[in-house]
Symmetry: C2
Subunit: 558 residues, 2 copies
């Protein structure tokens, strides 16, 4: 009856946690579940404890953090132990509040307002910290070394260096996924960094100024003034909306002769824009964009980008069309960075789509390495095994579910807990599980996930010493030979915004509660202002908004 | 007695003008004086009149303005006639408030806060206006054409175009004067445009980040952290002071290990820094810089700049020394742009140091072309001829001056006007005249001069039509065959600031009235806020100052 014990323990763990969102609890289970099958005597934080480090003659452990995005920065901000010498390596000496990048591209918010120097963030922390502005290009888990390269291209043997680590935290994010579409790297704009936003902004003004020259033919003007956004996710939609506002509210009066040439197109390979949102949101966005004359083309796959044309393939008809464009923004999803892919091969993860960690964010297949944010994903492979196990052992689950018409796995477990004699329908369980699985198998590559992971991992590091010294305290789940001092990572989804331009936004909260309109835009302003990482950025962004309301957006070619 | 009539008329013109500063009045005379000897029937604004343009079948005259700096922008802002189709050509689609560039380099003020799109400035003007973001590379005064090149490097015959003009206003500014010092173009930073300020800022942060890398030797750190400013004028001094504040107030706490490596050096070829200021100011600046550990080296000429060393020659000893540096700012003065030099050859000004205009800002030697700001200078050659004439004709001037101990030419003229029987000492007159001459021969290449010229020229253009139709009205100086509808340009100097860091500044008002300290810095803030070109920039800059006071300067590598 080992399986049932596991089942029971898991459901206890779940129902004991008071969380407002169903999805989250299930996710917790999804992550935690696997762990109970993969029981071992290794604590995933064994290398972190101050006790151990104390045995090394008082020498502090060397913690290397790669990356200063949402994951890395939140980790550093919340790390409150003096047990480490921390070394941070990142090509950017600042943290970027990425959700406001579309605003930067159109001058609604100033680039400098959404960044915070990482040295400022780690100032006055109890740990020693050194920052190195460099890119990690190789991780060697055998010799516990990371190899780095300065972004300044110094030459003379000054450019490259290696850092030893005792513990490594990888928070390097991901690269843009071009799906190997020819010409994208060369001709398209991306929107991942502040530089990208500034370049995109200059390119838009480039187009306006170029189209104002007397040498440009009418046809060429039409091409130059055609702005294409590829990808109907929240970033693409927000950018298209912001660009429309910038063009109609600010640029139209300054470049009156170009008003009729302007065209904005949004290309989406799937059947809907904003597929992760409720249908109400998608419908509203479609209507709003139609009113705004933003041309939304769904079922339209980009097959090639040249310097002046973007070729799309209609997924229904198979027809290929080349559309002349002035600027194209590529915003379709993310892929693994080459350095991570190479590292995955070394640790036996070659076949995986994304680097796998366990539910405590420890990278599977190597010691003392943790990974956060877009560069990794919690592996739920074991969870699927666990489910298969249940299917075989408890066929009565099917009937139970049939009778109770339980909608999802959490209710199933909660009820099962209350009355263990009830029977469960295996098909309904399967369905419930598959629903759960599709939701938990990959956490979305968002700021929310990365920052919660950073906070979680920092809390684990903070507590590690205390745990070792007082094992009866925060240690949990000590049965069955497993010694896990911490809860596994649990993601709490607080909702998602989709700004749609014209001071309107859509917001979808957990439980599919949806709100659309001006009030949601107000909420968007409030939430984003409150989420900004320091007081400085909060004040700067809010005053940028006031500046924009008062004076409009700037069209200088800067 | 023609000479005396001229003399009398000139002095009448001068004494009739109530101006607070002696220098200004003399300057007016200096400019006006030449005109009376160069009498002709041509009105310098004959091509501007609406009357004439009315004769062309109602077709408006085509006015081309080259440049959107202080001169061009003030001209466009003050032009209030519908008599022209205006075409503006400039490589920048915005106006830059250049006095705040040193603040931008250190993040005290945001780049976007000190620029204003030129289209915004000319919006709602009575004249039609078209802006072209391009660089003029040739002016053809014979066929009345300017040849322009887009800054976007378009190719396919789209890059270059020609514009006809009826009237041309050249306000292209000047280039940096490198005195042909080898290596300056390649390795030194300049501070003329917003781009320059942004690049310089990034280079400073580059150095801090590079010096923080583990591969850098101590000696190399010393080199990297050595910032050199060449030129002890107001810009160089202000930049050195601002950089010191940035380093000590903001960067020192973020890069504590680099504090001892930092060194700022100010090189000046002359004997004093701030040579255009009163000795009190120079002394104060020297003391302040000594306290701040900014190394001021006077009598030190730069002879070569390589990628890592700057070679200076001690003017007293002739000794040459190579100093390793991290960043060098070159701020030593201005020179004529190649396009202007080529144009000067065409119009017979090949030998001149700077393009010469008459006292109404009309370019000498060609019709319908006006020039403003740093790219031109009012020619006072005729004035010298005029003075020689006086020497020969009125030797009694010597005695008059001896007796009255008159200090300068204006008093001389004013008194001469009151009692024409008095005798004048020719030597004293010569001395007075030479004093005057050294002050007026070239107006300083400042924002003040250019903007006053822009305003003046716009007023002339605005009145031109009215003058033609009602000649007895604003026309002046109609005797002796000359028909000059306008006063010649008269520069009113309102004083000059030299910010010295640590919230202290020096200010020198006309009449050598000097104030130094925190109050002057307060005045600096007030004056600069009030002088900003639009309400938008005013509010932005002031709020940038508040941001800086509250949160310090940003050190992000943007």
């Amino acid at each position: 009856m080992k399986g049932f014990q596991i089942f029971n323990r898991a459901s206890t763990a779940i129902t004991n946690r008071a969380t407002p969102s169903k999805l989250l609890i299930v996710l917790t289970f999804g992550a935690a579940g696997g762990a109970f099958l993969a029981i071992s005597d290794d604590s995933p934080f064994r290398s972190l404890t101050a006790g151990e480090s104390g045995n090394d003659g008082g020498k502090k452990k060397k913690l290397v953090v790669l990356g200063t995005g949402w994951g890395g920065t939140t980790f550093l901000k919340n790390l409150k132990t003096s047990a480490y010498d921390v070394h941070v390596v990142s090509p950017h000496n600042y943290f970027t509040f990425t959700p406001l990048l579309p605003s930067v591209t159109n001058g609604t918010v100033e680039a400098r307002s959404i960044v915070e120097p990482i040295r400022n963030i780690v100032r006055n922390k109890p740990y020693n910290v050194e920052f190195k502005e460099a890119e990690c290009y190789r991780i060697d888990p055998v010799n516990k070394k990371v190899y780095c390269r300065s972004i300044q291209n110094l030459g003379h043997g000054e450019n490259e260096f290696a850092l030893d680590y005792d513990v490594l935290v990888i928070a390097m994010g991901a690269r843009v996924n071009t799906f190997n579409t020819p010409g994208v790297e060369e001709h398209a704009h991306f929107l991942k960094e502040v530089d990208d936003a500034q370049k995109l902004r200059r390119s838009i003004i480039d187009c306006y100024e170029r189209a104002s020259l007397p040498t440009i033919s009418d046809e060429e003007k039409k091409r130059i003034m055609h702005f294409v956004v590829v990808g109907g996710g929240p970033t693409g939609v927000e950018y298209a909306a912001e660009l429309h506002d910038f063009a109609s509210q600010d640029l139209a009066s300054l470049y009156p002769s170009l008003k009729d040439y302007l065209k904005i197109t949004l290309l989406e390979a799937g059947n809907h824009i904003l597929p992760m949102f409720h249908k109400k949101v998608t419908d509203f966005a479609n209507e709003k964009f139609q009113k705004d004359q933003i041309d939304v083309k769904t079922g339209s796959m980009v097959v090639k980008v040249s310097d002046k044309d973007i070729s799309t393939k209609n997924r229904a008809t198979g027809q290929i069309e080349a559309i002349p464009y002035g600027v194209v923004l590529w915003s379709t999803g993310i892929a693994t960075r080459p350095v991570i892919a190479e590292f995955m091969e070394k640790i036996g993860q070659a076949g995986k789509r994304v680097m796998a960690t366990d539910e405590w964010l420890k990278v599977q297949g190597c010691d003392d390495v943790y990974a956060l944010g877009d560069c990794a994903s919690i592996d739920v492979g074991d969870f699927k095994e666990f489910v298969k196990d249940i299917y075989e052992r408890y066929p009565q689950v099917r009937k139970y579910l049939e009778k109770n018409k339980l909608k999802n796995f959490e209710s199933l477990l909660r009820n099962a807990q209350g009355d263990s004699q009830k029977k469960i329908d295996i098909e309904a369980l399967k369905k419930a599980l598959s629903e759960v699985d599709s939701q938990v198998s990959f956490l979305p590559p968002t700021a929310q996930v990365a920052s919660q992971q950073g906070k979680y991992l920092a809390a684990c590091f903070n507590k590690a010493g205390r745990c070792e010294m007082k094992p009866e305290g925060p240690f949990r789940f000590q049965e069955s030979g497993g010694r896990y001092p911490f809860h596994p990572f649990s993601y709490k989804h607080s909702g998602q915004f989709a700004p749609l331009g014209g001071e309107q936004a859509a917001v979808q909260f957990p439980g599919d509660w949806v709100s659309i309109g001006h009030a949601s835009q107000g909420l968007w302003y409030t939430v984003y202002a409150s989420k900004l990482v320091t007081w400085r950025t909060k004040v700067l962004v809010v005053s940028d908004w006031f500046r924009r309301f008062t004076f409009g957006r700037d069209s200088s070619h800067l």
